[in-house]
């Protein structure tokens, strides 16, 4: 195994460890919320900061892994990713256009889409759902374009 690949696996392991710690913390907070609401109210601000810190740390790890991964793979594999990013990501973004256009119609005014997924209809739930929708569509497009690139060159 090359040193570069080892380095990628090291950071990937770091990400998994971070996810494990986040899962443990989430479980612990859930337990506190159920058993001691007063304590849960006290730690609520720290919970928010903790999630933000974990989110940023996860982002940094993901970025480092991506950079190192792109250096490990060969030029054709890099080309596949670049093509997938441009075509898959762009088409994924375009696929969000119908949702955007439907959103301005009066017929959709009473749709409570975030409620279907998060059980919430507050503004933050709408913002999160918009982000999830874009990420999902872009990742889906990315995956299809990446597979298509290799399928054409099999």
């Amino acid at each position: 195994m090359s040193p570069r690949l080892k380095s990628v696996l090291f950071y990937l392991g770091g990400m998994l460890l971070l996810g494990f710690v986040a899962g443990l913390a989430g479980g612990w907070v859930g337990h506190i919320e159920a058993s001691d609401p007063a304590l849960a109210a006290q730690i609520a601000p720290f919970e928010l900061v903790g999630i933000a810190v974990l989110g940023v740390a996860g982002m940094v790890f993901a970025l480092v892994v991506s950079v190192r991964w792109m250096r490990v793979i060969d030029e054709a594999a890099r080309e596949a990713h670049k093509s997938a990013w441009f075509w898959g990501g762009s088409v994924g973004l375009l696929a969000a256009m119908p949702i955007l256009m439907m959103g301005v119609l009066p017929q959709t005014a009473d749709w409570r889409l975030p409620d279907w997924f998060f059980g919430r209809t507050d503004p933050m739930a709408y913002a999160a759902m918009g982000a999830w929708a874009l990420i999902s569509l872009m990742l889906l497009g990315y995956g299809v374009a990446w597979a298509w690139w290799w399928w054409k060159r099999r």
Binding site: D74, E75, A76, A77, E79, R153, R154
Partner: protein, 67 residues
């Protein structure tokens, strides 16, 4: 772009995996190169030429593929 990679490799009785190892790329990349569906970068083309001990222009030609 057309190339003679498959012929040159067969002449030496090399597998795609062996050539991939010599070039420092994946076997899938060697396959994509051989089928002419992926054109290599100049550094990779020079490396291929060095490994087969032939000038680049005798391995690659600018004639378009039919498929």
């Amino acid at each position: 772009m057309n190339n003679r990679l498959k012929v040159l490799r067969a002449e030496r009785d090399w597998s795609q995996a062996h050539l991939a190892e010599l070039l420092g790329v994946s076997r899938q990349t060697v396959n994509a190169l051989e089928t002419g569906r992926y054109d290599p970068s100049l550094p990779l083309a020079f490396k291929i030429a060095r490994i087969f001990e032939q000038p680049i222009e005798s391995i690659f030609s600018e004639q378009e593929n039919d498929g």
